[in-house]
Amino acid sequence: MLKLGVPSKGRLMDKTFDWFGARGVPMGKGGGEREYLGAVDDDAVQLVLLAAGEIPRELAAGRLHLGVTGQDMVRERIVSWEDRVEELARLGFGQADLIVAVPAFWADVRTVGDLDSVTADFRARHGFRLRIATKYHRLVRDYLRHHGVADYRLVDSQGATEGTVRNETAEAIADITTTGETLRANHLRALSGPPILSSQATLFRSRSAPWTDEDRAALARLRRRLGL
């Protein structure tokens, strides 16, 4: 049985259903509103509803053959993600940029190079490393290492990250933004230049799942119907 994982709630789920439906593969949530059971009109395909954040792990472990989730989640949560999963289609929704943002009043900081210069001064003055709040530890660390930023510290923030600067638990943040509205409301500004990552909802194929002949045939049928 080919297992296809899709987000179990919210806009991501609705948009995923819409995307498949618009391409002639209707899918929906079975039973009641609270029941996490999905259905798709192919007996060889099993729809699995689960939290979008867990889909990368399930794809990497090979417990899902296919899955819809954000590129940000896959890159953050799967080591050497390109060896473990393959992108089949970018779905054109759930767009978000992962960015580093600093207080808007930091008139001296535009670029990641400025930020590095500030981290040096900050450590000398305050005696500890400038804190950047994020839940994207790996992506942010790789980005800052690539750009040669030193003397910072990542602090974990699983939600309301934009509020950490005002609460003085961080000096800067790295988070997903779509319109920049939340950043502005919290008096933050993204560094100039390209984001760490531009992400969108994407259909992934697991390279480590057990692909039987039936699964391959089911995938071929699905791809034909979806025009992939």
Binding site: S80, F105, A107, V109, V118, D121, R129, R141, G148, R189
Partner: protein
């Protein structure tokens, strides 16, 4: 993961190498596997998280030791003695985020030498020890000197603030290059960031700190760029790759235009003399201006490595170098000259197997 037979062979090889280090006059040193994360993070920065396993203990965050350097320095600082030689063998743990095919647990065997009156002699003693021990494996040798780089930066015609920024990034070639480009061109002052003046002051970094840095940037924009001859000289030093005697004479030439380089070149000269006296074939010893630069270690002087020829995909079999600055950081003001290196017994076994396969 390793199989039992492989582990046993690795352990036996480690014992052999450790025996050689003890025969060279070292005291056996032990170190805890769980190291306080804070010390390592303060030294190496957040990057260490990409290569060390972190775990949570009751006393705070701990890391499975990614190497022995820090605990051995701490042990020496507590115990004293001059000179002091230590040898150790034990597992280190690496996350290998960027190279998952490499083992995440393997044995390191190391030798560290603290103190002594003559750094050139200490450098030569350690290098000759490694060189002799590894000679049967036919490895490719690389050497360099981070002290030459810091001396070159020290000799540039540049403000102290810019010099400090360059020195801070000696180990990060990309940032270093970006800074060199910036400091060697005429800067125009950016206009104020729109909206910044109206935005409220939030967080621990104050508006006064922002104003201070803006004033500094204004002064910096008026600073003369680093002269192009000096930029060229630094490029020459960074790209230098020649047998040691030729490298020395080219650095002597560079020092005539960059006089501040002279003492560091004298130290290289003295080291080559000491290496020669210790029986190392100095005429053919490779020297590279950038050797050891992209490793995260706090090497700040002589650096060396031994690698499998034709296998750039593999990590080096052995690496080492001088790290005086690290002892200052860990010694809270006290500093001790220090040089040492490590060998990976799994790699010497593989190299020996490859060498006998070729024979």
């Amino acid at each position: 993961m390793s199989d039992g037979a492989g582990k046993a062979a690795e352990r036996a090889e480690a014992a052999r190498l450790l025996g050689a280090f003890l025969d060279a006059g070292a005291t056996l040193a032990e170190a805890d596997i769980l190291q306080p994360a804070e010390t390592l993070l303060d030294l190496y920065g957040e990057d260490i998280r990409a290569r060390a396993f972190t775990t949570q203990g009751l006393a705070g965050e701990a890391m499975l030791r990614p190497d022995f350097t820090v605990p051995i320095v701490q042990l020496h600082m507590a115990r004293g003695g001059d000179p002091a030689r230590y040898a150790y063998a034990g597992e280190v743990f690496r996350r290998q985020e960027t190279a998952p095919e490499r083992p995440s647990e393997y044995i390191q065997v190391g030798f560290e030498l603290f103190g002594g009156d003559d750094p050139a002699l200490a450098d030569a003693e350690v290098f000759a020890l490694f060189s002799d021990l590894l000679a049967p494996l036919g490895l490719r040798v690389g050497t360099g000197d981070i002290g030459i780089l810091t001396a070159a930066v020290g000799a540039l015609s540049v403000s102290e603030r810019r010099r400090a920024a360059l020195l801070r990034h000696i180990w990060r070639p990309r940032r270093f290059r970006a800074l060199m480009e910036r400091f060697s061109s005429t800067l125009r002052l950016d206009p104020p960031v729109p909206g910044a003046a109206e935005a409220p002051e939030i967080g621990l970094r104050s508006r006064a700190e922002v104003e201070e840095r803006l004033a500094m940037l204004a002064r910096a924009a008026a600073e003369p760029p680093i002269p192009s001859e000096q930029v060229w000289l630094l490029d020459q030093i960074l790209s230098l790759d020649a047998p040691a005697p030729e490298a020395l004479s080219r650095l002597r030439d560079a020092a005539t235009d960059l006089p501040g380089l002279e003492p560091a070149v004298d130290r290289l000269d003295a080291r080559l003399g000491a290496l020669d006296a210790a029986g190392v074939a100095v005429e053919t010893l490779p020297f590279s201006g950038s050797h050891g630069r992209s490793t995260m270690e706090y090497y700040d002087g002589f650096v060396f490595s031994f690698s499998r020829p034709g296998r750039p995909d593999l990590p080096p079999v052995a690496t080492g170098g001088r790290y005086d600055a690290l002892t200052r950081k860990l010694g809270e003001g006290r500093a001790v000259p220090a040089i040492g290196g490590v060998i990976r017994p799994a790699a010497t076994l593989a190299a020996a197997a490859a060498a006998s396969g070729r024979a």
